[in-house]
């Protein structure tokens, strides 16, 4: 118990670091994933190929390798940014591949007849998309996006090993200060549980509110 009360600010900073990393990387992953998903369902073949390559390569890249390449590689090109931003970039790009697949399968669950009916009513492409297809796709996509974002929160632990301030990294300082390692890990575990449970609760509420009624 002492470990937590004595080092509350340290834990707090790490916890906030993880939360920040998760939020920013989620936003990036959602945006990129949306763009890539729209590429993958586009009628233009070149765009489809781009989307497919993006997804295939990133889904098969170990995240550690991506972190390694982004955090230590990009500075060689003279691109010097804070490590936190690099971490968001790596995490966001990695997760965007998974989000893309989720969104794509969500769009594919919308029956063809829905789009055909919309077009026969004289709706334009934009109207079909925003009034017919996306709302239906959104409903079926909530649970898998939630589990992808939980995976993102868990993956953010890797950033700590590349000297970004986050929850897992706090164990090093505590270890040097001579606190019990087991207990410091217990509190780190509790921190991660809080984050993942919060995300899962949030998506549970969204699912209740907007999800497909089964």
């Amino acid at each position: 118990m002492d470990v937590l009360t004595d080092n509350f600010s340290l834990y707090g900073r790490g916890f906030l670091g993880t939360v920040e990393l998760t939020v920013y990387a989620s936003l990036l992953a959602m945006a990129l994933g949306f763009v890539m998903a729209s590429f993958r369902v586009a009628p233009v073949r070149a765009l489809r190929v781009i989307g497919t390559v993006w997804v295939t390569v990133l889904r098969n890249t170990p995240l550690t390798l991506l972190f390694f390449a982004v955090l230590l590689g990009l500075p060689r090109f003279g691109l010097v940014l804070p490590f936190q931003l690099f971490a968001v970039l790596a995490l966001g790009c990695y997760t965007s591949a998974f989000i893309c697949e989720v969104l794509r399968s969500g769009i594919n669950t919308v029956p063809t007849g829905q789009g055909e009916a919309a077009r026969s009513l004289g709706m334009s492409f934009g109207q079909t998309l925003s009034n017919i297809v996306l709302p239906q796709a959104f409903r079926s996509v909530i649970p898998p996006v939630g589990s992808t974002l939980i995976a993102l929160a868990k993956n953010s632990a890797i950033a700590g090993a590349f000297s970004v301030t986050e929850l897992l990294g706090t164990y090093k300082t505590l270890n040097e200060l001579g606190y019990s390692i087991i207990w410091s890990f217990v509190w780190i575990a509790v921190g991660y549980l809080i984050i993942t449970l919060a995300i899962s609760a949030l998506f549970h509420v969204m699912e209740k509110r907007w999800g497909v009624a089964r």
Partner: protein, 288 residues
């Protein structure tokens, strides 16, 4: 995919000649943009002197090649241990969750839920730092606990997706629960879940690279050693360019196995018993 297959989706109709022409122009524009980006990256690579002979000759040295191969071997060794052990752990936990005894069921549920909720890296670091274990066992333990619990859920879903009639018929023949599970349910479950199981093994293979963070001498670690060598003018980018295709290639190969398994399964009449239920409308009409 070979031709631009004109099939209707909810998003747009099958394009006519004018639209096809427009799409072709979009395609040309997109290709031009991508070509521009690739050209820019190549220019950047040359601009920052990544293709000097000083940075690339090390890869022709025998010592360096052996170092990389040893790293690759260590990665594969960790993967093999982790894969086998997590399959075993997954089977044990799945049996636990399907048990008739309530305490066993509870314990396995708690274990599965806990290990699935924890980041793998936290478990690996815990074993490595707090229990003071060597890097390889620490890595294998962490990977086994995480992937084992995910696989337990996969196995359980598989067993539950086998048509109810199969189980009932086996019980009616007088088989015991163990016999029913081993001879009737498990084979069908594994067959139905093979693609998912292989995909989870891809995750395990990808996560062996976490060993780099606890100084396990795997592939990435070998690359790092070469990349930080001043004699070779810090060949970081060349190292990444050599390592990542091999890593990604290995994972793609395994992912491709998963796709192959699922495609084969769709054609195989033997999986029909479970295929219908995984499609989402299971147990409505058992034996129909």
């Amino acid at each position: 995919m070979t031709r631009s297959t004109p099939h209707a989706t909810a998003l747009y109709d099958i394009p006519g000649p004018a639209t096809r022409k427009r799409h072709f122009l979009y395609g040309v524009a997109a290709t031009a943009v991508i070509a521009g980006v690739i050209a820019w990256v190549i220019h950047l690579l040359f601009d920052t002197d990544q293709f000097t002979s000083q940075k690339w000759t090390p890869f022709t040295y025998k010592g360096i090649q052996e170092l990389l191969l040893r790293g690759l071997g260590n990665t594969l060794k960790a993967f093999a241990y982790a894969a086998v052990l997590s399959l075993v752990l997954g089977a044990v936990l799945a049996v636990g969750r399907l048990s008739d005894h309530r305490p066993v069921r509870w314990i396995s549920t708690v274990l599965v839920e806990f290990f699935r909720a924890m980041p793998v890296l936290v478990m690996i670091f815990f074993v490595f730092v707090a229990l003071r274990v060597q890097p390889l066992p620490a890595l294998v333990t962490g990977l086994t606990l995480y992937n084992g619990s995910v696989l337990a859920e996969v196995f359980r879903t598989g067993v539950n997706s086998v048509e109810r009639g199969q189980r009932e018929a086996a019980y009616a023949l007088g088989m015991r629960k163990t016999q029913v599970t081993v001879h009737v349910l498990a084979p069908q479950a594994v067959r139905a879940m093979l693609p998912t199981i292989i995909s989870q093994l891809v995750v395990a293979l990808k996560d062996t690279s976490l060993g780099y963070l606890i100084t396990y001498e795997e592939f990435l670690h070998a690359g790092k050693l070469i990349a930080s060598n001043l004699d070779y003018d810090l060949p970081f980018i060349p190292v990444v360019m050599v390592i990542s295709p091999i890593y990604i290639g290995m994972c793609m190969l395994l992912s491709w196995c998963a796709t192959w398994a699922s495609r084969r399964q769709r054609r195989n009449p033997k999986t029909e018993a479970t295929g219908a239920s995984t499609a989402g409308q299971g147990a409505v009409l058992p034996g129909a």
